[in-house]
């Protein structure tokens, strides 16, 4: 009997009845990895996608639970590469660089903002600390499974042994301030370079120790995180707006060889070719208007189109609550309004983001073997009239608009979001 319960705990799929295959039949599928399929069939089991294809061409497993979703649209769960849900916190004001700080130690996964993201169709999030520092901390990649603790939502299996996200950095005006914060852009770059040089020296000491514990340098959490970056195992997510700040990031990347995703990039359209030449992906924000600060005055809705044209890999993000997770699909639609192709815009919400988080082998498209993360929409993903009807993560429904207790997170109401203030950007 004890073994039985233990097995149940080990296999959440059994607990939720996911040993039975689920078949979603009749919807228009946007697999992203291939062109849309009208009257498609999606089969999932044990939290994974088993089959994707045209009706009649996909074998329907026996004993499957069949959902008739004719007239609906199914696409992969959305991947938000830049969000501040869960009342996330990063480094404090004691220093401008905090490589050791982990956001996973300070996220409330029960916060309403997390359910708001599920209501928006988001199934994977890169939760980051803010841009008020040159380096505000380690980001964390979350799968928006139902869960009570951050551990329930992590991508990594064990935060004590694995890398669980990226590293948040920023330049431009947000991290500027009185010492120890930089007062100028050049000072900002110098502080960052000094820190990376220190990490290189730390790495030399480790190499020289040749495994001898006596000779190893004392553990340094800051240095360990930066080494993961220098070794290409931890991706830098770099907040940057102005064209020259973007070029500064590319210069730092050339010097230290880290892997980087450029975030926001308001003026990317001015240096799209340089970004393309550097082979660096961009995660962009789409806003209803430019401005609010000097470095975002030249932001254009045409940014996505310009980067697509230049051949840059483009993702879109919410920067929740700069834009609300509930209108993530809308951001892609506005990019299309301003000239981006619908195909690339939908990829920017899914597979492109997955690539930027090193998760494209697991998520981002409807392909056999990938996690069963998908959303059921009432219609065209790029239409204002379309609602996210259901959000599924690893074969489990985590949002259902038909359920009033879920629906309120989509439309708002008394007390729905009144569970503590949400992340506010430090701006000028």
């Amino acid at each position: 009997m004890r073994v039985f319960w233990w097995l149940l705990l080990l296999m959440p799929g059994l607990l939720y009845g996911q040993e039975q295959p689920l078949v979603f039949r009749g919807a228009r599928l946007y697999p992203i990895s291939q062109p849309p399929i009208d009257r498609g069939v999606l089969v999932v089991q044990h939290g994974k996608i088993v089959a994707v294809g045209k009706e009649g061409e996909v074998a329907i497993p026996e004993a499957a639970t069949i959902y008739d979703v004719e007239g609906k649209v199914i696409m992969p769960g959305l991947v938000d590469t830049h969000s501040h849900i869960g009342r996330v916190e990063g480094g404090d004001r004691s220093a401008p660089l905090h490589p050791a700080v982990r956001t996973l130690d300070a996220i409330d996964v029960r916060h309403s903002s997390v359910q708001r993201a599920r209501a928006g169709g988001i199934t994977t999030v890169n939760v980051m600390s803010g841009s008020g520092h040159l380096l505000s901390g380690q980001t964390v990649y979350l799968k928006l499974r139902k869960g009570n603790t951050i551990e329930d939502l992590l991508y990594c299996k064990d935060p004590l042994k694995e890398i669980c996200g990226g590293l948040k950095m920023a330049n431009g005006t947000n991290p500027q301030g009185d010492p120890p914060f930089p007062g100028t852009r050049a000072k900002a770059a110098a502080l960052v370079r000094q820190q990376f040089l220190k990490a290189l020296a730390y790495r030399r000491k480790i190499e020289q120790a040749k495994g001898d514990p006596e000779k190893m340098p004392a553990r340094d959490l800051d240095m360990e995180a930066l080494l993961e970056v220098l070794d290409g195992r931890r991706v830098v997510h770099f907040h940057t707006h102005r064209h020259d700040d973007i070029l500064t990031v590319l210069r730092l990347k050339r010097e230290f060889g880290f892997r980087v995703v450029l975030h926001h990039v308001s003026e990317a359209w001015k240096v799209a070719d340089e970004i393309a030449a550097a082979g660096v992906p961009c995660s962009i924000i789409i806003l209803d208007a430019p401005g609010g600060k000097l470095e975002a005055v030249d932001l254009r809705m045409e940014n996505g189109a310009a980067l697509e044209k230049a051949g840059v890999d483009v993702a879109i993000h919410t920067d929740d609550l700069i834009t609300d997770s509930r209108w993530f699909l809308r951001a892609a639609a506005l990019a299309v309004r301003a000239g981006m192709s619908p195909e690339k815009a939908l990829e920017a919400l899914t597979l492109a983001g997955a690539r930027m988080l090193d998760l494209a082998d697991r998520i981002g498209s409807l392909e056999p073997g990938k996690d069963a993360d998908f959303i059921i929409l009432s219609g065209d993903p790029l239409s204002v009239y379309t609602h996210v009807e259901q959000t599924w993560v690893e074969g489990q429904k985590v949002f259902d608009r038909a359920d009033p207790e879920n629906r309120k997170y989509a439309v708002g109401g008394i007390g729905v979001f009144d569970d503590g203030d949400v992340f506010v950007h430090e701006g000028h």
Binding site: A333, G412, V416
Partner: protein
């Protein structure tokens, strides 16, 4: 003979010049929303000297020779942003371009919007590219009384060129937002007491003004003069009130002093629809996509639909944004309301004729009818669809934008 020819060519050149400045236009639309009766399929609007000359189905309206013809899938009247701070608040968001709120005194009805409006502000052009032709803008929320608001068209190089009405409302705010900028009022009750005291003082000032002996009349006082105009019903008091206690306080103040009230924001209006309806007060609703935090934490996407269902007149606003994005766009806010239960025509009404009525300018703008200002928006599809673009904006008969956005 030769000199006669010269005179004629000169006259011809002058005519051409005049017509290029104030062209006669015909706008044909697959669907024409006049907001003055049912939409017309294959409709035509004739425009002459900045005003609308004729509106009707293509088969009934003959396009005179010499009229430049513009075509679009959908045409609506110019959109009205029923409450903004754009032009006083600028895109840079630095102290030198933020003139929507002076914090030296919590009650300053004497501050005129016309003295602070930058007609060349980039955000004015930004909202115009999405169909806004009329802006109700001015002093923002944040003070018990922050100042006056005004009505402008979104073109013109100076405030004088842009102006429709220099004093549209006096802007007041109730709620914790005021505490962010002022030491006192430090509570909501104190703010209401201060507002009542100011209006009582204005009543006394008005009595003294009526003194038969001119020497007993009070010295001119800009604050009091403005508040007297509010008490006289000449200028509405627009009270920003998001939560139920503030909404009810605004209605209570209106009952006490009898001024014309416009409720602004009203995030929790859906909880007190009956009270708002009974008071006969119009609402300029918060942006549909307002962030659910602070005073608007309980906002819903369905409030517009519920105001409409209750028969309460309302309009859309871009509101005030302190950071990013620096302004919102009423077309987008209305679209989100339509996606959440508001009938399409009701949304178009709220963006045009209903907003015009609430702001008292429906004799000039808000619908396409002969004699009205020729303000039109040309869309390449359903105005509310995300991927539909605005491909033409006409203000006072002048095409001010002919690219698609």
């Amino acid at each position: 003979m030769e000199s006669k020819m010269k005179v004629w060519s000169l006259l011809l050149a002058l005519c051409l010049l005049a017509s290029s400045v104030q062209a006669q236009l015909a706008v044909r639309a697959d669907t024409l929303y006049t907001m003055n009766g049912a939409p017309i399929q294959n409709g035509v609007v004739l425009i002459r000297n900045g005003k609308i000359e004729q509106v009707g189905p293509a088969e009934a309206v003959r396009i005179p020779e010499g009229y430049r013809v513009l075509e679009a899938s959908v045409v609506t009247p110019g959109l009205i942003d029923a409450h903004s701070v754009v032009g006083l608040a600028g895109i840079l968001n630095y102290a030198h371009d933020q003139d929507q709120l002076d914090t030296s005194d919590p009650i300053q009805p004497e501050l005129r919007a016309i003295d602070a409006y930058n007609a060349r502000e980039r955000l004015v052009a930004w909202v115009r590219r999405f169909g806004v032709t009329t802006l109700h803008t001015g002093h923002g929320p944040g003070a018990v009384i922050s100042g006056q608001t005004m009505l402008v068209k979104t073109h013109g190089e100076t405030v004088e060129e842009a102006l429709i009405d220099s004093v549209a409302t006096v802007a007041a705010t109730l709620g914790p937002m005021v505490r962010r900028y002022f030491r006192s009022p430090g509570t909501r009750a104190k703010a209401v007491a201060m507002l009542r005291a100011a209006l009582l003082k204005a009543q006394a000032y008005r009595r003294k003004l009526q003194a038969e002996d001119p020497t007993r009349r009070p010295d001119p006082d800009l604050k009091m003069e403005t508040l007297v105009r509010v008490l006289d019903g000449e200028i509405p008091l627009m009270i920003t009130a998001q939560r139920v206690p503030e909404i009810m306080a605004a209605l209570r103040l209106q009952r006490e002093f009898g001024f014309r009230l416009i409720l602004d924001g009203a995030a929790e209006a859906y909880l007190v629809l009956d009270a708002i309806k009974a008071a006969g007060v119009p609402v300029i609703l918060h942006p549909t996509m307002v962030r659910p935090r602070g005073e608007t934490v309980n906002a819903t996407l369905e409030t517009a639909a519920r105001l409409h269902a209750a028969g309460i007149p309302f309009a859309f606003q871009s509101g005030f944004e302190s950071y990013v994005p620096k302004t919102r766009v009423v077309l987008f806010e209305a679209a989100m309301a339509v996606a959440n239960g508001l009938p399409r025509v009701a949304a178009l009404e709220a963006l045009t004729i209903q907003a015009a009525r609430i702001l008292g300018i429906d004799d000039r703008v808000g619908s396409l009818a002969p004699g009205k200002d020729a303000d039109l928006v040309l869309f390449d599809g359903d105005p509310f669809e995300y991927t539909t673009r605005v491909c033409g904006v006409i203000i006072d008969g002048e095409p001010v934008q002919q690219t698609c956005h």
